[in-house]
Amino acid sequence: MDAFEWMSPQDIEQAARAATTTVAAAMVRDSGEPAAGDALLKAGGIDLLDLMKEGLLKPRRLIHLRNIAGLDRIEGAEGGLRIGPNVTLSQLASHAEVRMRFRALAQAAGASASPQIRHLATLGGNLLQRPRCWYLRSRAHHCTRKGGDRCFAFGGENQYHAIFDHKGCAIVHPSTCATALIAFGARLEITGPRGARRAPSVEEFLLLPEADLHRENTLEPGEIVTAIVLPAPAQATRSLHIKQCETESFDWPLADVAVVLDLESGVCRKAAVVLGAAAPAPHRARAAEAALTGKRIEEPVIRVAARAALQGAAPLAKNGYKLPIFETLLRRALLAATEG
């Protein structure tokens, strides 16, 4: 890696003042070399160092967030949980209350990457990692997301790309945890150089290409995610996350689903159904949610809902195989969620 300066601030304000831009903005350029001179935020560094090693970022300075006290806690908040952004995926996956009350999130965190990566990777960084699209991650491809004028996935190798909402860019959102966070209605506390902003839901925070081609979220330069807040779930909530990979061991999913059901004696009062690795932001399957609401969750209802989840899908040349995978994952998730 190229040399850089290192700053390890003790508080959020100091970190917010020091950051000059976001990683997404730093990767947008006319052509050629990435800009030098940026000061960028670093948590676990798994995504950031990867982008630097690939020559896609050349920061002048890294601002290490992991020595800021208090950002690595999980605490109760108004019946729900307030999770610090520096909490690692392994802490999240093994936390007793997360496992019991927010099972889908513990499952999503525990099924991401490898044990070695989960010990380093943070929830904040997981949510803010850049997409895995191989054209985005290739220095040789000046794609729309980096300020170029075409998305190479159209007419290219698009087997891992989006089946929904791929207007102008066909990335899928890379965060497996985000699938579960959206299903639980999580919100983000965010502080910038001018103080805290109104806490957006994760769903509002993540952007589709039609809103912005160059970034996956509304993070502004100097803004720091200071907490991920899970609202109190209804008493009889059942949740489940499952992912399907190409191999049994560590990898980003081909498809993943999170379901959160509020059940009262077998009848679904409220449902959240979210598809991951399906679209540039986790895809809320509203037609599936409607098909479940007010119903007893049984085989025929499950079958209708799983089919409905794929309404509006527009697979590309090489990713039509994702449709039956999503449908099967959803049927499994809904069945398993009601059983246990």
Partner: protein, 180 residues
């Protein structure tokens, strides 16, 4: 962990926060295999590079250099991590255990079991695999086969030694020997 408590070792102090250092070398102190080391490292140097190139602990292997093969696995404060994705400056004040820190007079029982079960072919992934397997047995002395598979799930072995690795770990667990 027993192999980290050499009598001459003392805990490093936490590195200075707040100040900006680099791009040239910065001073860090860390404990490696029970010995406190004071080093000057570039902020851009990874822990894997520093272990290999500055401390000549070449048992730790760098293969993919992206956290995707786990051959560089070492422990930081007892937890297995990919040392290619950790900066040396981040572990200022922390405790690192590499493959060289496992054996005492004799090999660690997991190392012996790898030999006994022929769990090594080219050997490049082996140090990392051993670090993951020992870490597993420290926290789960009697793992199931599924738990062993989950613990080594991040490791790539192109020779395909996985079944032998699993057999070796289960054998150590069965015999109940966990330290050299």
């Amino acid at each position: 962990m027993p192999h980290n408590t050499a009598p001459h070792a003392s805990r490093c102090t936490q590195g200075v926060t707040g100040a900006t250092v680099g791009p040239g070398a910065a001073a860090i102190r860390l404990e490696v295999n029970g010995i406190v080391r004071a080093l000057a490292v570039l902020p851009s140097e990874t822990l894997a590079e520093v272990l290999r190139e500055r401390l000549a602990l070449t048992g730790t292997k760098i293969a993919c250099d992206r956290g995707a093969c786990s051959s560089c696995t070492v422990w930081v404060d007892g937890a297995p991590v990919c040392s290619c994705m950790v900066l040396a400056i981040e572990v200022d004040g922390h405790r690192v255990t590499s493959i060289e820190g496992l054996a005492g007079e004799a090999l660690h029982p997991v190392q012996s079991a790898f030999i006994e079960h022929d769990a090594i072919q080219c050997g490049f992934c082996t140090p990392g695999l051993v670090m993951s397997c020992v870490a597993l047995l420290e926290s789960h002395p009697h793992p199931t086969e599924e738990e062993v598979k989950a613990a080594i799930g991040g490791h790539l072995c192109r020779c395909g030694t996985y079944p032998h690795v699993i057999a070796a770990v289960l054998d150590v667990a069965r015999k109940g020997k966990r330290s050299p």
